[in-house]
Symmetry: D2
Subunit: 354 residues, 4 copies
């Protein structure tokens, strides 16, 4: 049975692998100083309309976040502000704290989005040398619950950060899905214009591994390679990531793969809606959060490997469904049919009980 557990169960898109094989006999400069990485970085600067941005290719999402935050926060008493559900706050095993910085969590709604007011509240509580200095705002696009910041929301947060001397970093582990979302109005150029840095995730969108860290802030790029090496994030064969991004971006494959994932999720979302179940957060990208009775959630977990996200106070269960570039039409149809069947069973059951 197909697993909807995550978007990194499969290897890489065949075209990506083909590109890797094609270049494999070449001798390339080591440590990311190769021509493929250079070409991919140029493509990204072009897409971002940001010719001065620095681009570094890193092997995974957590190291990319750690690197970006370490490069921006040069002093250990400087802290990060994020939503309480933020990936760095919950799901990176304290990697940011291990690098010395406090993560200040702001309580947010199921949509998982941080507002200027949330950050302002944090600033008000941090005034003296007995407290850390909030210095960077971390958000994800898409968020941990699959939702999207609109351009208006992102612009407001960016303006607030600039007025208050805060850096803004966007974790784009699933940026492909965000950019291709139907309701999205944020472009790569907007991200470059509004942030100090953001990343473009490859691991969750059809690459074997790799994220592109895109940096507009000039200071964070000073001695960046020393930081990358010291933290153990420098790949000897950096070209392995460079080649994949080059291939993914050259003819739009990166965006096609994200569009495919979104389309699959949209079909499933339709089935959810038909079956009468509620969404925990708005279905906008390749991650769906659906509220189910516990026994149906358990079956979704068992049959389709859906993650159990949380139990609500009323006893209902939230499951997470994730689609990817590799999700087949059959898998979508099968899952959708199963979902609709749950409604039928429910109806029958209630009729019998009545």
């Amino acid at each position: 049975m197909y697993s909807f557990k995550n978007d990194y169960s499969e290897g890489a898109h065949p075209d990506i692998l083909k590109a890797l094989c094609a270049c494999s006999g070449e001798q390339n400069a080591a440590y990311g100083k190769d021509k493929h990485s250079a070409a991919a970085a140029d493509m990204i600067r072009g897409l971002c309309q940001s010719p001065k941005s620095g681009v570094a290719f890193i092997g995974g999402g957590t190291p990319t976040n750690v690197l970006a935050l370490s490069a921006l926060l040069r002093n250990p008493y400087e802290a990060v502000v994020c939503a309480d559900s933020g990936h760095i706050n919950v799901h990176e095993t304290g990697a940011i704290e291990y690098s010395g910085h406090k993560v200040i969590e702001a309580p947010v709604s199921p949509e998982g989005k941080l507002s200027p007011e949330d950050v302002a509240g944090v600033l008000r509580r941090h005034e003296t040398e007995h407290m850390v200095v909030p210095k960077l705002v971390y958000i994800s696009q898409t968020t941990e619950t699959g939702t999207l910041y609109s351009k208006a929301e992102l612009s407001a947060l960016s303006a607030f950060c600039r007025e208050n001397g805060l850096y803004l970093y966007v974790d784009g582990a699933r940026l492909g899905s965000a950019l291709m979302a139907e309701e999205n109005d944020v472009t790569l150029a907007d991200l470059a214009a509004l942030t100090d840095a953001f990343c473009i995730g490859g691991t969750k969108n059809g690459l074997l591994m790799g994220e592109a860290l895109v940096m507009q802030n000039a200071e964070m790029q000073d001695h960046l390679r020393w930081l990358i090496k010291q933290k153990g994030f420098m790949l000897a064969k950096g070209f392995v990531v460079g080649i994949q991004f080059e291939e993914a971006l050259r003819d739009g494959l990166y965006f096609d793969m994200a569009r495919h994932a979104n389309a699959a999720a949209a079909k499933i979302a339709e089935a959810v809606a038909q079956s009468g179940f509620e969404f925990y957060s708005k279905p906008q990208s390749n991650q769906l959060f659906v509220i189910l009775p516990p026994e149906i959630a358990a079956e979704a977990h068992e049959k389709y490997c859906c993650n159990i996200d949380r139990t609500l106070p009323d006893g209902r269960t939230v499951i997470r469904i994730v689609t990817s570039w590799a999700t087949t039409d059959e898998a979508v149809e099968d899952f959708s049919a199963w979902m609709i069947k749950q409604l039928c069973f429910g109806l029958v059951k209630s009729i019998i009980e009545a």
Copy 2:
């Protein structure tokens, strides 16, 4: 012109790539909990005759060293002892110190090998709470200058460590070349029997990336996955490394590749010997360190990308020549011919001058 700069200029052996492509459509468990990683770990345990060893696949050499040392040294006042030329002391941008531990360097000969006496000297100087506690001995096989620890040397060091409550870790970034070296008498089973942990390098021996950390010490395996994640070293698609090791080890490809690299180096070493130049350290593996007049060294650097390793007090230059699984016979012959030509030029020059 072919570059002898290092053994990680090319991608991966075609068979490795083929295996990656073959598995790419599968859905695999994430974060290294997949069947390929499990199979490769089993093969390693078998080769090591060490059924209880733990095996973790990591993306690169520096993260593997950092992880191993962090897992063994649970307290920041515990320090590592290594040769002054040790990779962790010189070429990892202070990654060990960044994790909080002091690296104590012991001055060693050009052979780059640490003896029990070297370590004993360090222990004598560290007695009170005003000094760090030497707790782990780090060596490399092959060493930074391409030499080999014999089984007798390794056994003596291991015995000394055990008598003195020290851990022993062997950095095997180039372990393939060591194991296949003509003069080698150390087996994988010996390494498992004599060390707390060691690694089997893939990046420098034909894989796209990846090292296998092999752990005999039971305590270091407690919560190892938490350490891996917190340091940013956990690959979402861990199976990408697992598949490569599975393929490399199944039919001996790993060893064939190392044998090929050694054979190429041996041919070049022969040419060096014929041309009358001296070796800085004994030529035993796929790294050669040759002493040349500065102008010839400069040409080797320019034409063949050989690293300039150091300048000797007498003004002569040491260059490093590295071969790999991918080094072609033509490249070896071309370089050997150039090397022998240097002798001829030298002879002619001295005749003319005389």
Copy 3:
């Protein structure tokens, strides 16, 4: 005008200074290995009825907390659980995070007390290697809002910790005031029996500086002096703290001073009650948290240096009043009179307005 800002505005009790002067000509062993520190440690073990406890004298509160947590949490992925108002969470500038550990905050009531249920909730949310491992519970006695854990509460928390493999540490920066509080039923012997470690604060109770860290957990004492030194917390003249604790504990001066501070606070609390103002948290120790109209709070801040603690949603202000061993009767009477006067003014004002 007398300041009620904190309990560390004055130097030390005259008897403490006399003891320091009396011993000043002696030659004492350095780094805390002196006879005074040994004698004071023995007194503490006696008071705690815990002959095997280790005792270390440290120069201040934050270093004592950092040391205790570092000695108990040997792995950086292990985290501390505390009340959101916890001193380590808010007022130590991220010192715990700087040492690599995440601080997990649990939201609690104005009483600032953590319950087994609060901790259980945290445990439920931390299951895999993608999350830190909650491993230590940190509480303060008295709490940040001046309240007391009862013996029943402390016992329940201790039992929960032991059942769940968690360490329990009690920050006793104001332990003197807690022990001497009228409603207190927790003894030093109880603390020793129920915790892995706790500290007895001197800085806030009549000493020039110094805290005694009392450790029942045997493992945390291994190589403790190395930790103390590495963190920069080892005093060359450790006997300066040892002499003070020896003097404070010999004839009960430590407890007399705390009793004095509590009595002063109790008198002020009475005046507060008479004046009709509410307490933010229960008045139990030498810290009072009183809810005042903003303009009266401002006057308390200006005239008596009372800290403005927070603004409530309804616009009223919480001030903190702190008494100490050095607070004079005149200061208490003056402040009490002022407080009662506020009621009169309020009454007159409301009569006029009516």
Copy 4:
């Protein structure tokens, strides 16, 4: 018997204690924001003829070094260069490495002094992102072996640092003794002019505790109080150190105490010279390093607590003799007489043996 083990065996000079007692009833601002600390800082700026220097009072030597280096080195890949005998390299239990920075040791002579050439050698070996960035030079005045940098030596090192973008920090744990040494030609004003920061040690010169960190570098002072607090070095009663420095500096007591210690050492050095024993390093300050036959060294250790510093290759032993502000004339005469007696014994022994 009097101990010559170190210069921190006694408490504090009676005048220092008198000042502490005199101020003890006052209410002072906490955390070093008091009038005494302000006055002492002004005195230091005056003595240094450096009205813009920042001054921070810290509780001990290791925290002062850690603070200074952390404030100057904002990035963990930046490293410190020091003599192999440097206090931070040997005797601070890896405190600098714990803060993330590598300490690069340069081998130096028994005089323990670092030259521009030593540093230049380090710079030459650190070129790429695979190595740390040498960024700060650490020296001690007096050195670990009691010797002095002359003004010419200090100026040369300072000039070299400025030309090469390196910070210069002078650890003045024994700066009093250095300033009052007969051969000294370096003033406080010179130190201020030539360094980024240096410290004036109090603990080893008659104070209960405390060092003054004097900072010329403006950037290191940004958010310094946050650093101090986060590292656990902020004293609640900072005025305790401020009062002591105020008293020590007001009428020259600080310098008188150092002069006393130097005079005592000079008398002992004379006796050493008379007895015919050699010095390991030049006797210039309150620390003497004398080469003795092992049995005489053992007696010096037993009777006078002299530290055994090291054993020379020829089997002779180096002992350390330390005098202080508190060393009595009787103790000096007694020790000198013992020293001279060793010569007599030696003579008699050799006559008998002949």
